[in-house]
Symmetry: C2
Subunit: 375 residues, 2 copies
Amino acid sequence: MLDATSSYNPMDSRIPVADRTGHRTVPETTRRTERRLPGTRYGNRPTMKDVAARAGVGLKTVSRVVNGEPGVTPETERRVQEAIEALGFRRNDSARVLRKGRTASIGLVLEDLADPFYGPLSRAVEEVARAHGALLINGSSAEDADREQELVLALCARRVDGLVVIPAGDDHRYLEPEIKAGVATVFVDRPAGHIDADVVVSDNFGGARDGVGHLIAHGHRRIGFIGDMPRIHTAAERLRGYRTAMEDAGIPVEDAWMSLGVTDPERVGRAAREMLSGPEPVTAIFTGNNRVTVTVIRVLAGHPRPVALVGFDDIELADLLQPGVTVVAQDAAALGRTAAERLFRQLDGTLLGPERVELPTRLITRGSGELPPAD
Amino acid sequence: MLDATSSYNPMDSRIPVADRTGHRTVPETTRRTERRLPGTRYGNRPTMKDVAARAGVGLKTVSRVVNGEPGVTPETERRVQEAIEALGFRRNDSARVLRKGRTASIGLVLEDLADPFYGPLSRAVEEVARAHGALLINGSSAEDADREQELVLALCARRVDGLVVIPAGDDHRYLEPEIKAGVATVFVDRPAGHIDADVVVSDNFGGARDGVGHLIAHGHRRIGFIGDMPRIHTAAERLRGYRTAMEDAGIPVEDAWMSLGVTDPERVGRAAREMLSGPEPVTAIFTGNNRVTVTVIRVLAGHPRPVALVGFDDIELADLLQPGVTVVAQDAAALGRTAAERLFRQLDGTLLGPERVELPTRLITRGSGELPPAD
DNA sequence: CCTGTCTCTGACAACGTTGTCCAGGCTCTA
DNA sequence: TAGAGCCTGGACAACGTTGTCAGAGACAGG
């Protein structure tokens, strides 16, 4: 499952067990004696039982105080509070969860938290979760289907109440038992594969079509498209938008104008340079996401002729470049917020069936998309 | 504690209780009958007991199969696996955690996940956690001390094994009982207040001193400093670096050159414009963090004379602006990685006492810091 | 003084898992 | 063939909490 690089690996399901000589590793409870708090049991945290004993009351009375339930005299409450304070007691939510069934936590599986697109999305999900008293567990799939599944199932084992998933894989049937068991699930940015589930996406098709249309309106005909791997739904949709815009304008698309694949700077840079060379180079480029846009901007900065550019996704400082970068912006925070809200409505029971919600994109013109063709 | 905007609020400790008429709300276990899986108990997920019953074996045998423990015949294992498959059983880690004591999860409390500085940091922590088989729970404090404490204590109640905290508040004595109880703790970016704990920081002082020194070396004397609120440790350290560099160069600093406070664009923009006006305007500005830098770049873009600029924190596309933005870069990912590694070493027991680790910063020259004074 | 009601409190079971321990059946050897 | 030892499987307690229920006082009304 996961690599262990040290002795700490609590979820390891392999067997540390006694070896053939019968020796056993020292039980965990014996560590850190010197750090133990007076009044607590060896190496462990104080429990309600400890508090009850110290306060001279019953277990349930402590529970009542901790949870603010009624039916405790002020005097008793004071004694309990005092004991809690003195022992540094903190309720164990694991036990609580086990008893109550809900964990008050939701999981978010995305591609890469370091990507500036996902940071705001995650934050938005967190805010909604917070408003509902839930915590957020994040996981990065690194665009790997197996890792996505591993993460999702780990989250399910934790019994998160709900999942917000930005799919990396394209088959999510493995989630069916979980959904049946009541795990609320919303997919974001890309639809789920082979299951019927709630999904919140941007209007990738329309956004790309409008962005490319914008270039066409400014006189371009030879327009390049550099995007992500076509198995990624958003990439495919944006490509479809490109094709549609071109078709609507009656421009036959040449293969040399399109480049789809991994979005590392090397491949993208090569693709851009190829499109820009030869006897009939493109006069404009439409880029399929923020990473591609940044790379292409770098290429264009070193290019002799001006080349028009429209990028999908807004990027910071885009307005300060020369020329400013025209983009089709999607609202990452709104995606996250909408998804999380639907998630909690599923948990409330106020949501009927699975639905597909599409959020609009916005064309922001800043100059790069308005350059005329330099033929 | 937290606002509930709906009926879902599992961790609410206020009393939903029976009202005076004796009516009760419907127990949770009765929801979603239509979604229940055949073979499971009403509204609940299958447990090992269910699997054991279906496979015709004992409870512990199922546990053994699930955990890959030895001592189960292939035939028995097959039967158990079959039952697991058929019922869609997934081990309940809450119960496991309760029994084992470790949750295999760590908490990360930072200021704002949407900030491009924290995304990579969080991702780095996650990668280390993953290598140790642990999940990461994120929380944004929004630079609010109370919210930080609330988050940290909520994470402790979940019994996270460790905490990585980017402090918002300046008193962390509330964490003492937790640390004594064995919660590994590492502070990042800023030191903890009033407690002795592990901390990983950048060399804010040295970085700022070098950045300002760079401006001085290019002939500037009237150098402005725009930074965050001085109660934030990093802001104070960077200010100290600025003062030291000026002092070392024998330049008396004027009050009008320094501006400290919240880093919203409005205040920062006003501060920058003030420094740049009057009879003796600054000829260079040192900015105290990425947000400030971006705002100041915008101001400078509309300013008639060229003004030198060095910023703390690297920003994306800084190299593509005209001129390129010279920055003092800190390595957010390294901060996160180092902190997380120390955390797990605490859990391993291979770390001795609390320590302060300082990571170097790097001056990246791109042009804006090398502009001569425009006197 | 007794009875009924109300308030406060605590004993106990249950949540789902894992660790301990023991029993029964098997193989192997003396 | 009997005894020793191993392998497999299961009964049971425990983890820390919450829900249920019933008991113990207090107090008022008859």
